[in-house]
């Protein structure tokens, strides 16, 4: 993190807008495209004002054509531009899966390094009550078995801004997951226009000594809430925010576990097949000897997200679930 003189308190959503605005101003190759990103400013209000400022050539309202949004962005990226494409909901990654997992992620490698694919794919994610099985997902882990792109998931306004700026400046493709429930959250963000957060560096969001809770995106906040709960039991929880899934900062993870000897991994996605499983496997492969107990995963129930908000709430993990796992570990 670059040092900065001042800082302002802004929302996560505003942080995204500022990152886009500043990078568009800095580099005219940066263009934004997606459904309703232009004149409407995005259905979650993350891109207001850009259309007015940069015009229809650089802020492109697309047809409802997710394959074109991502595949077209690859075409833009290999011909001299630096597109920031948006899928209106992260769930729609499955509507452009070949384009994301094969074209965006592999075009450079498949062609022997002859191209770079400097693009960012923004994907608003998460369950926020009533979205149902196709508008509520946190599908970050889908990208894991398709190497080639970074996977970034910010949890705070500062991270959102700093990571998005880093992603736009990065010559690799980046899958960038923003949590819809975080858009309205506020936090201090440095003023420095060159403030970037390096991709792939974990951040200890709270120090602790007894149990490490690993999380990213919204689950970081659940982990922090669980740490508060655990503190009342006299348990000291360290919250490690991976800030995404690739690159994975295994050094930071192993160092924290070395200190605590106990680990819970918390995610919003269903327990099975998510980032938590991957991180668990990395730990069990490399530092199992440091552990004093099982590696616990917290995630949503392994069911499609029901559309009824009351049922959705029953399916989602909670700080209490994380707290319980922590308690079980400290015995």
């Amino acid at each position: 993190m670059t040092a900065s003189s001042g800082a302002r308190t802004i929302t996560y959503s505003r942080a995204i807008t500022e990152a886009l605005d500043e990078e568009m101003a800095r580099d005219e190759r940066v263009v934004v495209l997606g459904e309703d990103v232009g004149r409407m400013g995005g259905i979650f209000g993350a891109t207001p004002g850009l259309y007015e400022k940069y015009g229809a050539d650089r802020v492109i309202d697309t047809p409802i054509s997710e394959m074109f949004i991502v595949g077209g962005a690859v075409g833009l990226a290999i011909t001299g531009l630096r597109p920031v494409a948006e899928l209106q909901f992260a769930d729609f990654i499955v509507n452009a899966a070949d384009e994301t997992l094969s074209k965006m992620s592999k075009w450079r490698y498949m062609h022997g390094g002859q191209f770079r694919v400097p693009m960012v794919l923004r994907m608003p994610e998460g369950a926020t009550g009533g979205g149902g099985a196709e508008h509520s997902l946190c599908p970050e882990a889908l990208m894991l078995s398709y190497p080639g792109a970074h996977i970034v998931v910010p949890s705070t306004p500062a991270d959102a801004k700093g990571l998005l700026k880093a992603a736009i400046r990065d010559d690799n493709p980046v899958g960038f997951f923003e949590h819809k429930a975080l858009y309205a959250t506020r936090g201090a963000v440095p003023d420095d226009p060159d403030f970037v957060v390096p991709i792939g560096k974990a951040d200890i969001k709270r120090e602790g000594t007894d149990v490490t809770v690993i999380a990213w995106g919204r689950a970081v906040h659940w982990a922090l809430a669980a740490a508060d709960l655990a503190a009342t039991d006299g348990t000291s929880v360290e919250v490690l925010d991976t800030r995404g899934l690739r690159p994975l900062d295994t050094d930071a993870i192993f160092a924290s576990i070395e200190k605590t000897g106990r680990v819970v991994i918390a995610q919003e996605a269903p327990r099975t097949g998510g980032g938590a499983s991957e991180i668990s496997a990395v730990i069990a492969e490399n530092v199992i000897d440091l552990l004093e107990g099982p590696i616990k995963r917290i995630g949503a129930m392994d069911v499609p997200i029901p559309q009824n908000p009351a049922l959705e709430a029953l399916v989602m993990p909670t700080p209490a679930d994380i707290h319980l796992a922590v308690k079980e570990l400290v015995g």
Binding site: E35, M40, D61, P63, I64, S65, V94, Q307, N308, L311
Partner: protein, 318 residues
């Protein structure tokens, strides 16, 4: 040509859908149902008039805007309220709420894909199924001008054209996909796309549901008789926002007020009176009856029990 009785039926069903939607809005105001809904005001003309060309055993893939097609297919209102209330009386037994996945297999209502365009493929499959099973069922699939630009349409339309499937595509062109004007995001005209797949395309004014019905009856009959698919492009309007509470800052006042003059319910009412096919008394009676019907359904639906945690895994694996 739509006969007077059918015209009245169309009017009755449009009014029923409108009343239902008004009652839903009230439920939302009262915080009894979640606010995520895409109001259907303006497109009842195409939804009702097209759907009424179907039989009960025919298949319907409705779209996300409004509920008029679902109501026209005969799904009980109590079930619809139950879906929005998220209780056991809903067609989905409490799973759905908000922009729902209404389902009624007995009436051929095959559900909805939450990702736009998904239903186009399922519709093509359902139409192929009827062909394989040698029934004379017709499938009708609704979607907006925005969803018409997803690649799913191409794959569905090509298969339908290649195999002359009994399938009627209804493109509800209301000029907008959320904030994006159709002409900005669309090359050419939807109606002209049909020809490229080897089947007829017909454009029709959605303000006039009787004309829409004529077109739909012809398309459904063609499909039923082995003549293959049809694409109907209905020029319609979105009287309200994309979703409830949409400030619509992207929309000019002039365009909104032009749209407002094209309400199919208002038009049909005037036309029926003008032609003498209905009297003011008849029309008022229809309207009153609709409100009554809706009220009764609403009351009944409110009594439904909320689902409990044990349903969460009930319908996952057989």
């Amino acid at each position: 040509m739509t006969d007077p009785k059918t015209k009245l039926d169309i009017y009755r069903t449009m009014v029923l859908a409108q009343s239902w939607e008004q009652a839903l809005m009230r439920l939302i105001d009262e915080n009894l149902a979640p606010a995520s809904y895409h109001p259907g005001r303006g497109s009842e003309g195409s939804e009702v008039a097209c759907t009424m060309a179907l039989r009960e055993s025919d298949y319907l893939l409705y779209d996300h805007r409004g509920m008029a097609h679902i109501i026209a297919k005969g799904v009980p209102l109590v079930g619809l309220f139950g879906d929005f209330l998220g209780n056991e009386l809903g067609t989905t037994r409490g799973y759905g709420a908000g922009i729902v996945h209404v389902a009624d297999p007995d009436r051929g209502v095959l559900g909805q894909s939450g990702t736009l365009g998904g239903s186009q493929l399922i519709a093509a499959g359902a139409a192929l199924s009827a062909k394989i099973r040698k029934t004379d069922q017709v499938t009708m699939c609704f979607f907006g001008d925005g969803a018409a630009n997803r690649g799913t349409f191409h794959e569905a339309a090509n298969a339908a054209g290649a195999w002359k499937l009994p399938l009627v595509f209804v493109v509800q062109n209301n000029g907008w996909a959320v904030s994006v004007p159709t002409e900005y995001s669309t090359g050419g005209a939807f109606v002209d796309r049909a020809n490229g797949y080897g089947f007829p395309g017909v454009a029709v004014d959605g303000q006039n549901p009787f004309e829409v019905h004529d077109v739909a009856v012809e398309a459904v009959e063609r499909a039923r008789n082995g003549g293959g698919p049809t694409l109907i492009e209905v020029k319609t309007v979105r009287l309200l926002g994309h979703y409830l509470g949409d400030p619509q800052a992207y929309r000019e006042a002039a365009e909104r007020s032009t749209s407002a003059t094209r309400d199919p319910i208002v038009w049909a009412r005037a036309a029926l009176k003008e032609s003498g096919e209905a009297t003011e008394e008849q029309l008022s009676a229809i309207e009153a009856e609709a409100i009554e019907q809706v009220e009764a359904a609403r009351e009944q639906a409110l009594a439904g029990a909320k689902p409990t945690a044990d349903v969460l895994t009930e319908y996952l694996y057989v």
